[in-house]
């Protein structure tokens, strides 16, 4: 009996089934985009993919900085924390103060997250893991490995906790090194666990490799040479800078005190300062070769021009009288360099056309930063300068002082760079810390004048003044001087100052210009220190490289 009632109920059920089917099709087509989007909002998370930071290499491809993984150890105090005994074990592995750690964890009670330690080495983490403490979280953090450690800290620099450069080349070339982070989209379950990576991500662009002009071998030698002498010279700080005069490439750069890039707690801003480019000091007699050069450039003097320094006194103004330690009498221009007669140098300066000395010093680069890529570079200055006047140094006193190195200050980089013009036959090259920097050069002095001055700078075992700089078996040139420290009031301290020496080798011997400064209390060790450093550094550096080429 198939009644209308059967048909009615069956039709009703069929209608219901068709409604469901229709609704499902509607959801799967018309509503699909909205629903999928809503679903993705809940399940798909965007996260950034860290770009690997670029390596820093020296000129020979030796690694100066590269990535490594350090670990952070953390706890979630709101869930559970290790007990005191466990914390003590952790502290002993990490060489931290156990009581401080216990207190810190206690104070954080209730907080969601606390770092127990950051920048823990993989080896230490392995030991901590062996303790099998469930409440500890281990998190890998990208960080940097600096194989030369404090020996190259001022050049290479370092990164902060976020792996961004904050010092040295790491800071200067941050954009190149950091690359750009990518994005990835992950599908997560409701508990936040990653199920899979979904498409459409942007891959990270890793940072580029940076090749510095630094030579690791010379850098290490420079550090050792400087430290061995600086130690017993009583200096409070010291710097050594080695340049390739032809390209301007910085081969080695060392400052003492330096810092350990791994020991973040022990770092002080004083130690982190790259003194050779940030610290400006009065130069003193180390600029004398430029006074002689200026005299030659002016055409008013020849090497054998005679300057009468008798009687060893020169009244420059009402208040100012220069004096020599003794009466040098009549000196040839070339002898002024050796005798350092204040009177003679002042007389030369006063007899030059009135902008000649300024011109020579400006061409040497003493008035502006060299433009090296490293952060924090400053520039020295010449005192009492009036750039609007045709004669920028107007007073005779200033001119006489300047000829003796007073009233002119510079960074070690500026000084070394100026001497590299002498080594380079009058061509000035912009210093750079990059191996492949385009050579930016300009011929500023007459080559024959420069070579005349250079000849005077040759150092032999008999050269009484800079005998300490002599390098047996090698032709070296150089000059130095001691400058008393200036005081805040504009006067001078007689008991302390800076001892300079800048020297260079010949082109046939793999030319290199080395500038050294030791700062500290005045003593014979301090004054002679830079020349000793030079000799020690150059003898090893050049003889090793000669061995290598043979």
């Amino acid at each position: 009996m198939q009644s209308w009632r059967d048909i009615f109920v069956i039709a009703l059920i069929l209608l219901g089934a068709l409604s469901v089917a229709g609704r499902i099709v509607f959801l799967a087509t018309v509503e699909q985009e909205f629903l999928k989007n809503e679903g993705d909002k809940r399940a798909v998370r965007q996260e950034s993919v860290l770009a690997a930071r670029g390596r820093i290499l020296d000129r020979n491809g030796i690694v100066l900085a590269e990535n490594q993984s350090a670990y952070s150890i953390a706890v979630r105090p709101s869930r559970s924390v290790p007990d005191d005994a466990q914390l003590r074990s952790i502290a002993s592995i990490l060489k931290r103060d156990p009581d401080e750690l216990i207190n810190r964890v206690r104070r954080a009670s209730g907080r969601d997250f606390l770092y127990v330690a950051r920048f823990v080495s993989p080896a230490q983490v392995a030991k901590v893991r062996l303790l099998e403490i469930d409440s500890l979280l281990f998190e890998g953090t990208p960080t940097r490995d600096y194989p030369l450690e404090k020996k190259a800290a001022h050049v290479v620099g370092l990164t902060n906790v976020d792996n961004r450069g904050i010092e040295g080349a790491e800071l200067a070339f941050e954009t190149n090194l950091s690359g750009s982070p990518g994005k990835r989209y992950t599908l997560r379950d409701r508990l936040g666990r990653v199920i899979e990576e979904v498409e459409q991500g942007v891959s990270a662009t890793d940072g580029g490799t940076l090749t510095l002009s630094i030579d690791s071998r010379l850098q290490i030698l420079a550090y050792r040479s400087l430290r061995s002498v600086a130690g017993f010279s009583g200096s409070s700080s010291a710097s050594l800078l080695a340049l390739d005069p032809e390209t301007g490439g910085i081969l080695a750069l060392v400052n003492l005190p330096t810092y350990d890039p791994y020991d973040r707690t022990g770092m002080s801003p004083q130690d982190m300062r790259n003194r050779s480019i940030t610290d400006v000091r009065e130069l003193g007699r180390v600029i004398v070769p430029f006074v002689i050069l200026s005299a030659l450039e002016s055409g008013e003097f020849q090497l054998n021009s005679v300057v009468d320094t008798a009687p060893g006194l020169l009244r420059v103004s009402e208040q100012t009288t220069l004096s020599d330690p003794r009466d040098f009498g009549r000196l040839e221009l070339s002898a002024l360099l050796r005798e350092q007669s204040s009177v003679g140098l002042a007389k030369v300066a006063l007899n030059l056309p009135n902008n000649a000395l300024f011109d020579t010093l400006q061409k040497a680069g003493f008035l502006e930063p060299t433009g090296v890529e490293l952060p924090g570079e400053t520039s020295g200055r010449i005192a009492n300068l009036n750039l609007n006047s045709p004669a920028p140094i107007e007073s005779a006193v200033s001119l006489a002082a300047l000829a003796n190195g007073y009233g002119i200050s510079a960074t070690l980089l500026q000084l070394t760079s100026a001497y590299s013009i002498l080594a380079n036959s009058g061509v000035r090259v912009k210093p750079s810390v990059l191996k492949s920097a385009p050579v930016d050069s300009e011929n500023v002095y007459d080559a024959s004048n420069v070579n005349s001055v250079t000849d005077l700078l040759e150092i032999s075992s008999k050269n009484a003044k800079w005998r300490d700089a002599h390098v047996p078996g090698l032709e070296v040139y150089g000059y130095g001087g001691f400058a008393e420290a200036t005081t805040a009031g504009g006067g001078y301290r007689e008991d302390s100052g800076s001892a300079f020496f800048v020297g260079f080798t010949t082109r046939s011997n793999g030319q290199i210009v080395v500038g050294i400064v030791l700062n500290g209390a005045l003593s014979a060790e301090l004054v002679n220190g830079p020349a000793k450093v030079f000799s020690r550094f150059v003898s090893t550096a050049v003889s090793d490289s000669l061995d290598q080429t043979q």
Binding site: A17, A21, T29, E31, R42
Partner: protein
């Protein structure tokens, strides 16, 4: 082996048994209470979901009633109202548990079954009006049911609380598109969609096999419903009203459960926590459905043997 005629003899116990179960499950110590609902009786080897059993017993009861009181059902008010009251009493026991979903299914099933068995139309209409007003009252009287209702009207209004399940379910249908994400491709089952193994299993199937899979599944269940219904028609022609009514009752139970579940999963009905027959997780459910299918199969067996009792 229990023949259809044996079932018919035993059917006298159906209503009292349903009532007894309905009362027992409410007694603390016998009934198991989870999340404020006492729907289960713990036996040594299994936990029985009582409402499912009660529904089955009610189908047997109505089949018996129709077979015995056909004349008065078709002609008198009393003939319609009497089973109406019996079922209403069982419904009330279910509401005490409380299990609104099962009660709704039971009431709806009973109405359809009485209707298809030829209940007097005027009396039947009165019964429907009474049933609908009662359902509406109970729905509105309880805040959590009301929340389910309002969230059904606008699930995206509060997708993190009351609308959460429905929105996640709809998302599953959207993600599945026409052909699905493939086996294991469901995201919603990764803890986003609660009850994914029971009430919302259709959403997960839609996500993994697409609209095609979900519709095919419903189609298969509807085919089953139709086959059972046809058996009921044949039994009716063979002059076996108990068998005929029981078969149609089983068909209605399966059809209603399928439709109510899929309606709520796709957002056409408020969520009442029903399950999809033969697919949703649930031991008692599957067991009772299998028992029902077994009884229906026996009807066909008896018919072929010419032993279908009058």
């Amino acid at each position: 082996m229990v023949s259809t005629s044996r079932w018919r003899q035993l059917s006298v116990l159906a209503l009292p048994a349903a009532a007894l179960l309905g009362v027992l499950v409410l007694i603390p110590g016998i009934g198991l209470s989870v999340n404020g609902a006492s729907r289960w009786i713990q036996l040594p080897f299994l936990t029985v979901t009582v409402p499912v059993v009660m529904t089955w017993l009610c189908v047997i009861y109505i089949a018996r009633y129709v077979a015995k009181h056909r004349k008065s059902l078709q002609t008198t008010y009393a003939g319609v109202v009497r089973p109406g009251f019996a079922i209403a009493a069982i419904c009330w026991l279910m509401l005490m548990q409380p299990d609104f979903g099962s009660m709704f299914l039971l009431a709806f099933m009973a109405l359809l079954l009485l209707f298809v068995s030829g209940a007097r139309l005027s009396a039947f209409v009165a019964l429907i009006i009474g049933a609908i007003s009662l359902l509406a009252f109970f729905a509105i009287a309880s805040p959590y049911r009301m929340a389910r209702l309002t969230s059904y009207f606008n699930p995206w209004g509060d997708p993190l609380n009351s609308g959460y399940q429905l929105t996640q379910s709809l998302i599953a249908f959207g993600r599945g598109e026409i052909f699905g994400l493939g086996y294991g491709g469901s995201i919603q089952k990764l803890f986003y969609l609660p009850e994914v193994h029971s009430s919302f299993v259709l959403a997960m199937i839609a996500e993994e096999t697409g609209a095609v899979g979900a519709i095919a599944l419903i189609g298969i269940l509807m085919l089953l419903v139709w086959r059972i219904w046809r058996l009921g028609l044949i039994a009716g022609k063979a002059g076996a009203p108990f068998a005929a009514t029981f078969a149609k009752g089983v068909a209605i139970v399966i059809a209603l459960a399928t439709l109510v579940n899929s309606f709520s999963v796709v957002g056409l009905l408020p969520i009442i926590g029903s399950s999809l027959p033969f697919v949703s997780y649930g031991g008692t459910h599957l067991l009772i459905l299998s028992v029902m299918l077994g009884m229906v199969a026996r009807v066909e067996l008896d018919r072929r043997a010419g032993r279908l009792a009058r």
